[in-house]
C-alpha cells in the first residue's frame, strides 16, 4: 500500500494515429470472444515477423549502464479502401470505407528498477467508436506483450491478465500489469490499432520521431497504402529520407530505417521543429470527383515529396478567405466590427479627443483597446468565474478579428503569416496549422496581436520575433461573390514585412530594493518595487493583477464615468446581482496577498514573512504606459548571519536562484533557442545600522561581458548606505551552439555571485 504506480506513457503513444472523426452508430460492438480470437491472430502475426532487428539482444558497450535501451522499434502501417453505395435518408450516395491498421512494436531492454517501473503497466483503449452524422468510425486496439528473460526464455502475457477500466458500448479501456518483469529482462510488446473509417477524406498527419531519451539501436517504419491513397512527406533536421515506391498492385510502399540513435537528453532552450530529426507524412484517401477541388483532396495514388510550402499557404489563404466572406463581407458579420469602431469613436470623444484626427497608428491602438474592453474585459454575470480569471486566459493572437476591426474603421490592415520561431521552418511547413498569424498595419508595419488581456498594441509576440520569411494576406472585396471558387479565392498573398526583434533592454525585470536589518538583526526588512517591461511581464501580471483593477483601469482610460459596480447597481437587471459581484471581487482581492507571497518566495527562493503594503502600482496594459510595476514590504529570512559582534549579509542571494545549467547540459553543440532577449537588474540599497561599518564592498564588484550577454555588479558605500547594482543580460533570443560557452561564462558568474557576502562590522 501507499506506493505509487507510475504509468508509463509509452513511446508508442506518441506515434499512434489519431484518426477518429465523426461517425454514426452502425457497427456492432465486438463481443469478447471475437475480440480474443482476433487478439490471438494479431499476436501470432506480429510475433512471426521475420525482422532481424528483433532478434538482437547484445548491447553496445557504450550503453551498458543505460537505464533502458530500445533494441528495435518498428511500425507497420497498412491502409486499404473500397467504395460502396449506401442510403443516407435523402438518397443513395457513394460510401468510402477505409481500413487502417497500425502496428507499433518495440523491444526494449530494461536494466534497472526505474525502467521496470516505467514499463510495468500498460494502458490502452481497446475499442472506441465515435458517432455523428454521415461518416462512421470505429477503432479496435490489440496488444501483445512478452518478456524475454536473460536466459532467452520467452513468457507471453495472457488475455486474463488484462483488466477493463471502462466497459462501455462505444469505448473500452483496458490496462495490464506486466507479470514477471525484472531488471535485465527484455520487454517485447506491440500495440495494434485497427480502424474502420467511412467517408473520411481528411488528411491524417503522421509523425515518425527519430529521437528519444533512451538509445535506439534500430527504428524502422514500413507502410503499404492502397492505390487510392495519396501521400506527401518530408524529412526534418537530418532525418533519413523515406524510400517510396509502388508495387505491382500500385500500392504505395514506404520504408525508412535508422540505426544506432544516441539518446537525446537536453531539454533546455531546444526548438524540436528546428533541431530534432523526425519525418512527417500526410496520408489521405485520394479523391477526384464532384467538389474535390474545394475539398482539397489529392489525386488517388499521388506521392509528393517535400511539397512546396506555398500549397499550405494557399490552404491558409482559402480558410481565411472563407472567414472573410462569412464574417466581414456579409453585412451581418461586419456589423460587429462597425460597433467596435463606433465604440472607439465614442470613447475617444469621452476622453476629449477626436477619433478622426488620430493618426492611423493611434486609431489602431484605440480600436485595439476598445475591442479588448468591450469583447474580452466586458462583464458577464453568467461567466463570473471566467471573468475573474480572465488574466489566465490565452488567445491565439486574434489576428482575424483585429484585422476586421481595423478594416471596418478604414485603416489599411493586413494579416501577417509566418512560422513560429521555434516551430517548423516556413519553407518546410506541411500543414496550415504550422503557420501563425498576426494582424498589422501596412505602412508602419506595426503588429497587433492579443494573446492575453495584458498584451499591448504594437508589441510583437515572442514566437514571431525576427521572422523574415513572411507573407502578407489581404482580401479582395468585390461587389458580388458568386460560387465557391470566388468565395475561397479572395485572399491576396504578397511578401510580408520583416518582424522586428526586441532587444534585451526592452524585456527587463528591474528590482528596486531598499533593505535594512530587522530590529532583532536576524533578518532583512525589504521594501521592494518591481518593474517589468516587454515580454517579461505576462507571468507576473497573470498572477498579481485583479480583474476588477484591470477593468477599472481601462474603464477610466476609456472615459466611462461609472465604475463597474456603480454601473451594475444602476442596471434594472444587474442591481439584483451586484452584491454577488462585490462578494466575488472581495474574495479575489483577499487571495491577492497569497499571490504576492508566492511570487516573492518564487523569485527570491527564500522564506518571506510579514508581507504588507502589497499593491500593483502600474498595470502595464497601455502602450503609452507599458511598465508593470508592483511593490511590497516583507521580511526576507535566512540571509543574515551573526559572526561574533558582527553580521554577515549574504547579498548574493538577493538575486534569488538564477538559472543553473545542470552538469549534463553543460556540454552542448546544438543551437540555443531562448524565448527572448532579456535583462534583469537589481538596484539594492542596504542601510548600514548605526554603530556598524560595511566591509567587503570592493569584492562584490564583478564584470563578465561577452557577445552573448553580461553579468556585472557595481557596489559602493557611504557611511550610511551600501549601494549595489546587479545587471544580467541575455543579449539575443538565439545563439549559435558555438556561443554556448559564452552564455555559460556570464551565467556561471551570476551563479558564483550567489556566494557573495558583505560584513557589517561593529565599530
Amino acid at each position: 500500500m501507499y506506493k505509487n504506480n507510475n504509468q508509463k506513457k509509452l513511446l508508442l503513444a506518441t506515434l499512434l494515429l489519431s484518426f477518429l472523426g465523426m461517425g454514426t452508430i452502425t457497427a456492432q460492438t465486438k463481443d469478447e470472444t471475437k475480440y480474443r480470437e482476433e487478439s490471438v491472430e494479431m499476436r501470432k502475426t506480429v510475433w512471426a515477423w521475420e525482422k532481424p532487428q528483433f532478434k538482437i539482444s547484445s548491447i553496445p558497450a557504450e550503453y551498458s549502464n543505460a537505464s533502458k535501451i530500445v533494441l528495435a522499434h518498428h511500425t507497420e502501417l497498412t491502409a486499404d479502401s473500397k467504395s460502396k453505395f449506401a442510403f443516407y435518408g435523402l438518397g443513395f450516395g457513394p460510401k468510402k470505407e477505409q481500413t487502417l491498421t497500425e502496428v507499433v512494436r518495440e523491444m526494449v531492454k530494461l536494466n534497472d528498477k526505474n525502467a521496470v517501473t516505467d514499463f510495468s503497466e500498460l494502458s490502452f483503449t481497446r475499442f472506441e467508436k465515435t458517432s455523428g452524422f454521415y461518416s462512421s468510425n470505429k477503432a479496435t486496439t490489440y496488444v501483445g506483450v512478452r518478456v524475454i528473460k536473460p536466459n532467452g526464455s520467452i513468457k507471453e502475457i495472457n488475455a486474463d491478465d488484462i483488466v477493463l477500466t471502462k466497459d462501455g458500448t462505444t469505448e473500452k479501456k483496458a490496462k495490464v500489469a506486466i507479470p514477471d518483469l525484472q531488471p535485465g529482462d527484455i520487454l517485447d510488446y506491440f500495440i495494434a490499432t485497427e480502424q474502420f473509417l467511412t467517408n473520411d477524406m481528411s488528411n491524417k498527419p503522421y509523425r515518425i520521431l527519430l529521437f528519444d531519451d533512451a538509445p535506439i539501436l534500430s527504428l524502422s517504419f514500413h507502410a503499404q497504402l492502397g492505390k487510392k491513397y495519396a501521400i506527401e512527406y518530408r524529412s526534418y533536421n537530418g532525418a533519413p529520407e523515406l524510400a517510396v515506391s509502388k508495387n505491382d498492385d500500385k500500392d504505395i510502399i514506404v520504408n525508412v530505417e535508422k540505426t544506432n540513435i544516441p539518446p537525446f537528453e537536453t531539454s533546455l532552450w531546444v526548438a524540436p521543429g528546428m533541431q530534432l530529426p523526425f519525418i512527417r507524412l500526410n496520408i489521405s484517401l485520394g479523391y477526384r470527383g464532384l467538389g474535390s477541388k474545394y475539398m482539397d483532396t489529392k489525386k488517388p495514388g499521388e506521392v509528393a515529396k517535400n511539397t512546396d510550402a506555398d500549397e499550405f499557404l494557399d490552404d491558409k489563404a482559402s480558410n481565411l478567405s472563407v472567414s472573410y466572406y462569412n464574417s466581414y463581407w456579409m453585412k451581418a458579420g461586419k456589423a460587429e466590427y462597425d460597433d467596435i469602431e463606433s465604440d472607439a469613436k465614442k470613447k475617444t470623444k469621452q476622453t476629449g479627443g477626436s477619433f478622426k484626427e488620430l493618426s492611423d497608428d493611434e486609431k489602431a491602438a484605440q480600436l485595439y483597446y476598445t475591442l479588448r474592453f468591450t469583447k474580452l474585459l466586458n462583464f458577464n454575470i453568467d461567466a463570473l468565474a471566467g471573468k475573474i480569471d480572465i488574466g489566465n486566459s490565452r488567445f491565439n493572437g486574434l489576428a482575424f478579428p483585429l484585422f476586421c476591426t481595423m478594416k471596418a474603421a478604414g485603416l489599411d490592415p493586413a494579416i501577417l503569416v509566418t512560422n513560429s520561431r521555434t516551430g517548423i521552418r516556413m519553407k518546410e511547413v506541411m500543414d496550415a496549422s504550422d503557420l501563425t498569424t498576426a494582424a498589422y498595419i501596412t505602412g508602419s508595419n506595426k503588429i497587433l496581436s492579443i494573446q492575453s488581456v495584458f498584451d499591448l498594441p504594437f508589441a510583437v509576440p515572442d514566437d514571431i520575433e525576427g521572422a523574415t520569411n513572411t507573407k502578407s494576406f489581404t482580401f479582395d472585396h468585390p461587389a458580388a461573390i458568386m460560387g465557391m471558387k470566388k468565395m475561397m479565392g479572395l485572399t491576396n498573398i504578397d511578401a510580408g514585412p520583416t518582424v522586428p526583434v526586441s532587444t534585451a533592454d526592452k524585456n527587463i525585470h528591474i528590482e528596486q530594493m531598499k533593505i535594512a536589518l530587522t530590529p532583532d538583526k536576524n533578518n532583512l526588512l525589504v521594501h521592494r518595487s518591481t518593474t517589468l517591461r516587454g515580454l517579461y511581464k505576462l507571468d507576473a501580471q497573470s498572477k498579481l493583477v485583479l480583474y476588477e483593477d484591470l477593468y477599472e483601469s481601462e474603464r477610466k482610460a476609456m472615459g466611462d464615468e461609472k465604475s463597474l459596480l456603480e454601473d451594475l447597481e444602476d442596471g434594472k437587471r444587474s442591481k439584483k446581482y451586484v452584491e454577488e459581484v462585490k462578494n466575488a471581487f472581495a474574495e479575489a482581492r483577499k487571495k491577492q496577498k497569497d499571490a504576492f507571497i508566492s511570487e516573492a518566495k518564487g523569485w527570491f527562493d527564500q522564506e518571506i514573512t510579514d508581507l504588507k503594503e502589497y499593491k500593483t502600482d502600474k498595470l502595464g496594459i497601455r502602450h503609452t504606459a507599458p511598465d508593470f510595476v508592483y511593490s511590497s514590504s516583507f521580511n526576507l529570512n535566512g540571509l543574515v548571519k551573526k559572526a561574533g559582534n558582527n553580521f554577515i549579509v549574504e547579498v548574493g542571494k538577493l538575486q534569488g536562484q538564477p538559472l543553473v545549467v545542470k552538469q549534463e547540459q553543460r556540454k552542448r553543440n546544438i543551437d540555443v533557442f531562448m524565448p527572448f532577449a532579456r535583462s534583469i537588474e537589481y538596484n539594492i540599497e542596504l542601510d548600514i545600522p548605526d554603530g556598524y561599518t560595511a566591509e567587503g564592498i570592493t569584492a562584490l564588484n564583478k564584470k563578465v561581458e561577452n557577445a552573448a550577454g553580461y553579468f556585472t555588479v557595481e557596489a559602493s558605500t557611504t557611511d550610511k548606505l551600501v549601494t549595489i547594482k546587479v545587471r544580467k543580460s541575455y543579449l539575443h533570443n538565439f545563439e549559435q551552439g558555438a556561443n554556448w560557452g559564452k552564455l555559460l561564462e556570464f551565467m556561471d558568474a551570476s551563479t558564483e555571485w550567489l556566494n557573495s557576502k558583505l560584513l557589517l562590522k561593529k565599530k
Binding site: 500500500m1 500489469a177 454575470i381
Partner: protein, 623 residues
C-alpha cells in the same frame, strides 16, 4: 491496501474528490440542510440483509453564483440506485451524472467507481439539492458513517433505522467538539438512532496529518448478527467472527506449496541458519515482487495465490504477506499472516469491523516470538519496523484461534543518520573526507529515492543531493556500500573540496560550517494549521565535523551552543575547541512523530532558536 481502507475513503472522500477543500473562510457554498437515512431491510436469498441509504443535501449559495462538483462513490458491494438533482427547485437543468471507474492512487485495479457532475448554484441565495439513493448489499461492508462534508453543514440529521431482527452496536467518535445530539426512539419494530447537529465545519485536509478517523465526527456501525427470517446470519459480533471470516478467505486462496517450495529452496541454497534463511527470503520478496494492487470485489480481502504472485512477480500487501508465509512454511518455519490497521486508522480490534485494518504483513514465529515482515517496505531491514505499523495491534493467524499482539515500537535510534566530516583549511576552501551512514527508515527513504532514478544518472543525483545542490561542494571518490543489503546501514564515503566556503574580511575569516541545517525554518504555520503534524518517522540526525586549524589561526568567536529538550524532541548543537582543532556536533532527535497543535507555538520558538544558531558563523583570526 485492503478494501476497508477504500470503504473508509468512500465515506470520507464523498463530495470532495474533485474540488478543492473548503477552508474555514470559504463559505460561499454551504450545505444548509443534510438528511441522511440508513435503513436495514430484508433482501433476497443471496443478500438477505441490505442497507438502503437515502441522502439529501441542500446546497445554499451565500455570496456569489458558482458551480461545485459533486461526487459519490460506489463499488461491487454498493450501488447507486437513483440520483435526483434540483437546481432552484427545478428538475429541468440538463445535468447528466457521469459514472466512471475510479482510479484510486496506489491501486492498479479495483471495483471503485464514482458518480459525479457539476452542480450549479444559480445566484446568491439560491439552493440546489442532490438526493442519492444507494444500496449496500452486505452488512459486512457497512462499517461507518462520517458526518463531515466538503462544505460546511449548517444543519444535519443522520438516522439509522434498525429493525429488531438486526443486531448491531454503534460506536461514536470525535463527537465532543461538535455538539452532536443523539436520540434513540422506537418506531414499532424498529429502533431509530438519530444524530442531529448544527454548524459542522467543512472537512479540512492538511498535509502530514492523522487520518480522518482521528478527528472527524463519525460512527462505526458494528453489525453483529441478523435474523430477517428463520436463518440467523452472524457478522462480526466479536473479533472471533472477524478472524473466522478472514480465515475462511485464507482457506479459499488455493496456494500451491510445492511450486513455492522449489523457488524458496533455490533462494536459500547453502544457508543453514534459520534467521539467515528468513532474512534472505524476506529480501528476495522485497526485491522481486513489485507492489501492484488489485482490489476488485473479494480481491480486496482475499490474498492472491502465492504461486501466482511468484509467477507475476507482483502483488499487493496481502499477496506479499501470503507469499512470505507460504515460502517460510514450505521450509518448515512457523510463519503467520497478520492483519493490521496502519497508524492512519484510529481503531483496533476491540471494535470488530472491516474498518479496523487496511494492511497485511507476515510474522515469523521464532520460538513463539514474532518477527514482523512487511515486504511492501522495499528497503527496510530484517527486524526493523516502519513507523506506520509500530505499536499497532495485529491479528495474528493461529490455527482456529488468533493472537492479538502489538507490533514493537522502535526508538528513534532505529533511524539514526550520522555524518562525520574531517576537514583541513586550504586557502578559502575546505578539503577533507566525509562518511555518512543511514539506518532504518532514513536508509529506506534514500534507497527509495535512488531507485526512482535511472541507474546511469544515480551517481550524479546522489552527488547533487549530498552537495545540497551547491556546485562549490565538489565531491570525488564516492564509494557507496550496502546499496543492496538492507540489513546493514547504507554507507557513503567521499572526498570533498568545498570551494570558497571561507569568507575573509580583513584579518578575520568567517565560516558557516553546517550546510545541512537540519530542520532549519521547519515552522508550522499556526494561522492555517489546525490538525496535529505527523512526521513520517522518528528521527535522529547526527552531524559531526572536525576542522584542523592551520598554525597561527585560532577561533576568536564561536556560536554559543544550544540545547533544547522537550518530551517529543530535542535539538543540541555546539562547538568545542581543542588544540589545533574545532569540533562541531549537532544532534536532532524526534522521539515522537506527533506534534500536537498545543505544542506548535513552543516548536516554532525552538525551531527559531535552532535557525538562529545555524545563522551564526565561526570567526577565525590570525594569532
Amino acid at each position: 491496501m485492503k478494501k476497508t481502507a477504500l470503504l473508509l475513503l468512500f465515506f470520507v472522500a464523498t463530495h470532495f474528490l474533485f474540488a478543492q477543500t473548503n477552508t474555514d473562510d470559504d463559505k460561499n457554498v454551504v450545505i444548509s440542510k443534510s438528511k441522511r437515512e440508513f435503513k436495514f431491510v430484508k433482501g433476497n436469498s443471496e443478500n438477505p440483509v441490505q442497507i438502503k441509504e437515502k441522502s439529501s443535501r441542500l446546497y445554499a449559495c451565500n455570496n456569489y453564483r458558482t458551480d461545485i462538483q459533486v461526487a459519490e462513490f460506489y463499488n461491487g458491494y454498493e450501488s447507486i440506485d437513483d440520483v435526483t438533482i434540483y437546481v432552484n427547485d427545478s428538475k429541468k437543468h440538463g445535468i447528466t451524472p457521469r459514472y466512471e471507474y475510479y482510479n484510486a492512487d496506489g491501486i492498479f485495479y479495483s471495483d471503485a467507481h464514482v458518480c459525479f457532475f457539476n452542480l450549479p448554484l444559480l445566484k446568491k441565495g439560491s439552493n440546489s439539492e442532490v438526493i442519492f439513493e444507494k444500496t449496500t448489499i452486505d452488512p459486512h461492508y457497512f462499517t461507518s458513517v462520517y458526518f463531515m462534508e466538503e462544505q460546511a453543514v449548517e444543519e444535519q440529521e443522520i438516522k439509522l433505522v434498525v429493525p429488531s431482527w438486526m443486531q448491531l452496536e454503534i460506536k461514536e467518535y470525535n463527537f465532543k467538539a461538535f455538539g452532536i445530539q443523539k436520540s434513540v426512539t422506537q418506531d414499532g419494530d424498529e429502533t431509530v438512532y438519530s444524530y442531529t447537529m448544527k454548524n459542522i465545519p467543512a472537512m479540512n485536509t492538511e498535509h502530514a496529518a492523522p487520518g480522518p478517523s482521528y478527528y472527524t465526527p463519525h460512527i462505526l456501525v458494528l453489525c453483529k448478527s441478523a435474523q430477517p427470517k428463520e436463518e440467523k446470519y452472524v457478522y462480526f459480533s466479536t473479533v472471533k467472527e472477524q478472524y473466522a471470516w478472514y480465515k475462511k478467505l485464507v482457506k479459499e486462496i488455493g496456494n500451491d506449496e510445492q511450486v513455492v517450495k522449489e523457488k524458496t529452496e533455490e533462494i536459500i541454497k547453502g544457508i543453514s541458519n534459520e534467521e539467515e534463511k528468513v532474512k534472505t527470503i524476506f529480501q528476495w520478496v522485497q526485491d522481486n515482487i513489485r507492489y501492484i494492487a488489485f482490489e476488485n470485489g473479494i480481491a480486496g480481502f482475499k490474498p492472491e495465490k502465492a504461486q501466482e504472485v511468484l509467477r507475476k512477480k507482483y502483488g499487493d500487501c496481502k499477496g506479499m504477506a501470503n507469499l512470505l508465509t507460504v515460502m517460510l512454511r514450505s521450509i518448515k518455519l512457523d510463519a503467520r499472516r497478520c492483519w493490521i490497521g496502519t497508524k492512519h486508522i484510529a481503531y483496533d480490534y476491540s471494535t470488530p469491523s472491516l474498518s479496523v485494518d487496511n494492511h497485511m504483513i507476515c510474522a515469523w514465529m521464532n520460538k513463539g516470538k514474532p518477527t514482523f515482515l512487511d515486504a511492501t517496505e522495499k528497503y527496510i531491514g530484517f527486524g526493523e519496523v516502519a513507523e506506520r505499523i509500530q505499536g499497532r495491534q495485529t491479528l495474528i493467524e493461529n490455527a482456529d484461534q488468533y493472537l492479538l499482539e502489538r507490533v514493537p515500537v522502535a526508538t528513534y535510534l532505529q533511524n539514526t543518520a550520522t555524518e562525520t566530516r574531517q576537514f583541513a583549511i586550504e586557502g578559502n576552501s575546505l578539503k577533507g573526507h566525509v562518511l555518512q551512514v543511514w539506518k532504518g527508515e532514513n536508509k529506506e527513504w534514500l534507497l527509495s529515492a535512488l531507485a526512482d532514478i535511472k541507474q546511469d544518472k544515480q551517481e550524479n543525483a546522489l552527488k547533487q543531493f549530498l552537495a545540497e545542490d551547491n556546485q562549490h561542494f565538489e565531491i570525488s571518490n564516492l564509494v557507496i556500500k550496502n546499496m543492496t543489503n538492507y540489513n546493514a546501514p547504507l554507507q557513503v564515503e567521499y572526498d570533498v573540496f568545498w570551494k570558497d566556503v571561507l569568507t575573509v574580511f580583513d584579518k578575520d575569516t568567517y565560516l558557516e560550517l553546517d550546510n545541512r541545517r537540519n530542520f532549519d525554518n521547519f515552522k508550522i504555520d499556526t494561522t492555517k494549521r489546525k490538525l496535529p503534524y505527523w512526521f513520517d518517522y522518528k528521527n535522529n540526525l547526527i552531524f559531526e565535523t572536525e576542522i584542523a586549524l592551520p598554525a597561527g589561526k585560532k577561533a576568536s568567536s564561536l556560536p554559543e551552543k544550544i540545547s533544547i529538550s522537550r518530551p517529543a524532541y530535542s535539538f543540541a548543537a555546539g562547538y568545542t575547541v581543542s588544540p589545533g582543532k574545532i569540533l562541531y556536533r549537532s544532534e536532532i532527535v524526534l522521539n515522537s512523530t506527533e506534534l500536537k497543535p498545543e505544542n506548535f507555538s513552543q516548536w516554532n520558538k525552538d525551531i527559531e532558536q535552532l535557525s538562529n544558531f545555524y545563522n551564526q558563523q565561526i570567526v577565525l583570526t590570525q594569532q
